[in-house]
Symmetry: C2
Subunit: 458 residues, 2 copies
């Protein structure tokens, strides 16, 4: 994709310089909105309105939706009120809301002024729902039917009103604003007769979300039930909108990126990597780095308190990185597995006992194998091959045993913390590797020095 | 969801024991296939056929598709050939392929024997495509139109053949088996006249994938272009099938889980967490743990070689965990960011220069701030407050400077390795935290001991 856009971009740049506008237009109309947006991202902001005016009305609006907020803002500032109104007329309400959310106040005012009164009202309503809720990502444009209609009536209704709807493929049957059923266009088209009544073919086994349902849960329900669109109802069970599959896919992508960022110890960012300045990246990375650096004071204190004994047997120091790293890796395996299962809805807090029991057994096998491997490695490499001073079988056994115990502790901490975080209403992803590494480091050092004191009579 | 299923499960178990089959049936028919599958997962395998027979034919097949392979296998073994044939008749080809791929050979033979000849042929064709390719996830059941048809003809064709198609909402216009356009049902329904010809309303600006395109790229294209279904063409550009949005959502979920597992140093698993035995988990976790444990020998060797100097200034040991952890955290921040951007297609190998330059600048800011913080912390906590022997301003500066340099190295390694891996055809996710931690550990120790030797005159 990216390579394709770059090439077109160069061609367009040359054509722009040569003022070959009709050729540019001919190229742009063969392209998809997402690709046009990618090309526009590489054009100087002051030339954007010029290019934008070359696009047919509908394609212009569709491409506008796909652009990043920087280009959108530059465009809005460069086009006339009339042109802005034409774009607004083509937009779906949920896309308009997405744009409004990213713009500075003065641009928002201009956008709202150019939206027709009904859309303005709907934008304002959607803006009131909490961020990341179903209400905030839904659209209010869907096909409404009533139970008394016939299949023929329904098709007629779709033909008359469908052009403005984000999807026509699932229609919603309402009675006094309450959702009583859904009808797919497939079942309308395949109905044996146009005279059949809607209530005889509608699906009454309904899957709905409320305006306050978290967007991630909405997307997961759509994936689980293979839904093209999911109806959103308010507290009184009245239907207020739908979330469509394309928004669900965006939500999944967004939430996955966010999870990965949090799991790697970063605060989540809205900007793509290439659009983030080094200072943006710094702001998202420094909080956890600083916090974890400071909290590593504890591991330092543990080592300090053992300093004298360590001075008596310096060879023990060499195994510290291996013990800490293996502990950290074991812990993050468990935490990432549990975090993912929690976010896919495969695990609940009530499974805590099962999870701990499973991790204990897994840790015992992993710990035994790693411990044995470690004893063998220490005896072969450090004792026989390198002849490191002070390393003998007792030291090897101490290190191996510490490793086994560390793996057990790490896996228990790794599986428990994310589940507790979820229970307490935090994002389990926060409990991923960096955080758990710090705890497991301290634990592994305590175990190491404890066992060393006991077994090596330090 | 899960809580809901558990409750229904208990009720059903009681009803099963009491042999209240008609009540069970009444409950099951109000449920969605995905929920029925979840309930069935909790029932003893030998009772599955009994429950399954209570379901109406279509719901039975839809629920069957949603089940995990264990239940599917138990069911296939427990039902008659005739019942199996009824299920097969209701299945879409791509779902049948998914099932066949998970079953042991003897069950596969029985399934294929009960599929009608055309489906058997299609299953066998799809099975030949490489795993994770578009060909292996596509379905061959889509609506075919020809350019000469009118809107009325097309609607008639959909009405006659649509019942067996996985989606009717996008229809494909073929000429000599080549794809020449797509028509949405929306445009058919909204067409001004039934007599309009298909080639006048079809979309000719086509987005296609080939049978060998990676499934992750397919899903990302569908998400990028907001497609309900994407056409799959063979090497000669002939249309062979479509991938639908529900499969794309499954692919995204699957690939994300796989990425997260690999990034946490595990080999990917097909089974959900609660279905994996401790031995399964062990098998997926031990390879990287063992490899990384062994490779930590290098860090041990670096420390060993510095042992004498370390014995002369034991207080330096206490800072090793902090330096290693902060380095590891910095590196994994960069690697995870780059891995995610690569997998979303936001970055290409050609961006390597840009990425390195961005990371250098970010690392300089992060390194400066962390280094300064660290010097302050060491002086305040270790020197003033705890009065640790040997810790003075020179030591604090040595540790702080090491930290800054480590952050720079870590971020460079973290951003470069995933991009190189991608270039060399490996999965960039392999280059995530555990791997990078091991490299960064060695680097940070080398920097630490180098700077200590120079600045502290050891």
């Amino acid at each position: 994709m990216a390579e394709h856009s770059v090439t077109v971009e160069n061609t367009l740049q040359t054509l722009l310089n040569d003022k070959k506008y009709s050729t540019i237009r001919d190229i742009l109309v063969t392209m998809n909105p997402a690709d046009i947006a990618a090309v526009f991202a590489g054009v100087e902001p002051e030339k954007l309105p010029l290019l934008f005016r070359l696009l047919p009305k509908e394609l212009a609006a569709e491409s506008f939706v796909e652009m990043e907020s920087e280009e959108q803002e530059a465009l809005i500032k460069g086009i006339s009120d009339k042109e802005l109104r034409q774009v607004m007329d083509e937009l779906y309400v949920d896309d308009a809301v997405d744009i409004v959310e990213e713009m500075p106040a003065n641009v928002v005012q201009r956008i709202l002024a150019q939206a027709d009164p009904e859309m303005r009202k709907e934008i304002n309503e959607i803006l009131q729902y909490p961020e990341n809720s179903a209400g905030s990502v839904m659209t209010t444009e869907y096909v409404k039917l009533t139970p008394g209609m016939t299949v023929g009536d329904a098709i007629l209704r779709i033909r008359r009103t469908g052009v403005d709807k984000e999807t026509i493929y699932t229609c919603y049957v309402l009675e006094n604003r309450l959702l009583v059923g859904t009808v797919s266009v497939k079942s309308l088209l395949l109905a044996p007769s146009d005279l059949q009544s809607i209530d005889s073919i509608m699906e009454t086994n309904l899957i709905t979300v409320t305006t306050h349902t978290d967007q991630e849960e909405v997307a997961q329900m759509m994936s689980k039930y293979n839904l093209l669109a999911i109806p959103v109802v308010d507290g009184d069970n009245r239907m207020v909108g739908i979330v469509t599959f394309d928004d669900a896919m965006d939500v999944i992508e967004e939430e996955t990126t966010e999870d990965m960022e949090i799991m790697a110890g970063m605060t989540p960012s809205d900007k793509t990597y290439l659009r983030s300045s080094p200072f943006d990246l710094f702001k998202h990375r420094i909080p956890w780095l600083a916090l974890l650096m400071i909290s590593a004071t504890f591991t330092g204190m543990i080592i300090s308190s053992f300093e004298e004994k360590l001075a008596a047997m310096v060879c023990l120091t060499a195994f510290i990185p291996m013990l800490m790293d293996t502990g950290g890796n074991s812990g993050s395996q468990s935490s990432v597995t549990v975090i993912r299962a929690l976010s896919l809805g495969e695990l609940e807090f009530s499974d805590l006992g099962k999870v701990i029991w499973k991790e204990i057994r897994t840790a015992l096998i992993c710990g035994a194998v790693l411990g044995a491997l470690c004893v063998g490695k220490v005896m072969l490499v450090d004792h026989l091959f390198m002849g490191t001073e002070g390393v003998d079988l007792t030291v090897a056994l101490t290190v191996g045993l510490t490793l086994s115990v560390t793996v057990l502790c790490a896996k228990l901490v790794g599986c428990t913390l994310p589940m507790l975080a979820k229970k307490l209403g935090f994002d389990p992803a926060v409990m991923a590797s960096p955080f758990i590494t710090t705890i497991v480091d301290a634990l592994s050092l305590l175990v190491y020095f404890g066992l060393a004191t006991a077994l090596l009579h330090l």
